[in-house]
């Protein structure tokens, strides 16, 4: 899949440069430097476009596609916000997964078993 290719490529390129992290990041982003994501300065959250440097919204929506009456429970193309929900509403690099949860769970008891954080 296209996505995985981006990932692998980015990881190889980036791990070649130095990487002293102030914070832990998710293992699948190993090798990233702060500035790779923090495009609005290190003290700000990454912009809503930042993740899209490597990830493609349509690919993501495809990867998490659901069928039948769950069609609109696709987090990357959902009933309430379509494909426009910013990544950080559900995902976080530096926090422990136990301390946050996907936005949907504010109102629903969905189980996203493959959600990694």
């Amino acid at each position: 899949m296209k996505l995985v290719k981006y990932f692998a490529l980015a990881a190889i390129v980036l791990s070649a440069s130095t990487g002293a992290y102030a914070k832990d990041i998710k293992p699948w982003h190993d090798g990233f430097k702060c500035k790779d994501c923090h495009d609005q300065g290190l003290k700000s959250f990454p912009s809503d476009q930042s993740c899209l440097q490597c990830h493609d919204v349509d690919d993501l929506a495809d990867a998490t596609k659901r069928g039948g009456d769950e069609e609109w429970q696709n987090p990357h193309n959902n009933l309430h916000y379509g494909k426009e929900l910013p990544c950080i509403e559900c995902h976080s690099e530096h926090q422990k997964p136990e301390t946050y949860q996907p936005l949907c769970l504010d109102c629903h008891t969905f189980k996203y078993e493959k959600f990694k954080g």
């Binding site: 009456d69 609109w72 950080i88 504010d106 109102c107 629903h108």
Partner: protein, 501 residues
Amino acid sequence: MERRNFLKMAGIGAITMGTAPAAFSATVCDKDVAFDKSYDVVIIGSGFAGLSAAIEAKRNGAKDVVIFEKLSMFGGNSAINGGLFAAPNTPMQAREGVNDSIETMVQDQLTAGRGIADEALLRHVATNAAEALQLTIEAGAEYHPYLQQLGGHSVARTYQTSVSCGAGITQPLLKMARKEGAVTQNRAKFEGFILNANNQVVGVKIREGYYFGREDSGKVINVKANRGVIMATGGFAQNIKLRMAQDPTLNHEVGCTNVEGSTGEGMLAMFKLGAVPVHLAHIQSGPWASPDEGGFGYVSNYSIYNFPHSVAIHCATGKRFMNEIADRKTRADAELGCRDQDGNPLPPIMITSYEHASQHPNCKKVLKYNVGWKFDSLEQIAERFNVPLTALEEQITEYNGYVKAGKDPQFGKIMDMAKDKYIKAPYTVVRLWPKAHYCQGGVQVNVNAEVLDSMSGEHIKGLYAAGEVTGGVHGVSRLGSCSIPECMVMGMTAGRNVMKG
């Protein structure tokens, strides 16, 4: 982001902590500011009211229109809403032979408003509701092929989007607004008005790059509004301090159905400017909400659909305790009275025949996500929820007699929609507990969506407001499905009038 940490309070579901609004810039005079951006029409808030205002402003000749939205996502409460839209004299009513009129809808709302609703505004909304419904259909909204009769409505006049959610309207409207040429900017928080020497609103302060809850994030810019500013910032049910100042019973233990952005600072800024505060203490709780999920979830729409042909039972007595389709305040108050011997909340249960419940798509969801349950017998229900069985059996038999007679001597429920719908096995059950839901109060507007000044009684030049941020329209208790028509009609009205002004 560290937010939405769920706290389970006394088994009464999830609550979201309100965030205190930031310190606001005082209103400033345009002589002292340099403008960073300029638009014909500036709209604050991206729900039904803001989106419909943007579309109408564009269609009435605005060169450029911008919608500023402080959250990361567009749509506000409108995007998580139940998609229930009341209107009189609609095509579906004609098809189903429902005899309705603008006047009947106004009268139903005046009754629920308990004498303090704004009749002129209600009539303006009812008169234009069918046109607003048509605009949503033009934008691409789709509706279930049947009407519903919600609590307090004397006839079936409520459409519901086929996805049973307001997003079935906001998503098409957002597309349409953009297609018309409106600019939509998220993470952009309104922080105050800019006036000229004649006290006319000529611009706003906007914090760009704003992250909700981080009040000093981003940067404040000055935005010029050549024709006017339309405030469509919604209600304040998530601002616990402010809602408790109005009604101390709505403390942090009371859940809330709203998005986290419903904190009311847009309304407060208008008060500072001189707008008339109306009915702030009338904050409505939703009697169809469930303590077993957060916010509106799936149960709310499930219950709204099923109340007409269901019974609500007090678990301690096994008896009904309310008219299941009374207006919201009557029902929420009755539910709050369901307590155990120690006075702790004892959420009542709603029992429906599975045969009827399963007609609504949410039934499947409710069962699947374990926020409602199916039972083969009353014994099972009594055991699960600790209800006295004999009393429950007697109550169901009695109620089925009312279904047959078409008359409910116990609580006076209108039994039209319950015709032939006996309560029989298998059953589905959900638990009920009210959540803070809707602010009837807000700033006073007239039928032109102009914001009135509390000292002069005149309208504040350059300032319009529409949607839940306005107050007094509905009086004590808004009827279900009457906010969408109000937000849409008043948003459209504001969008048209800002171009006349």
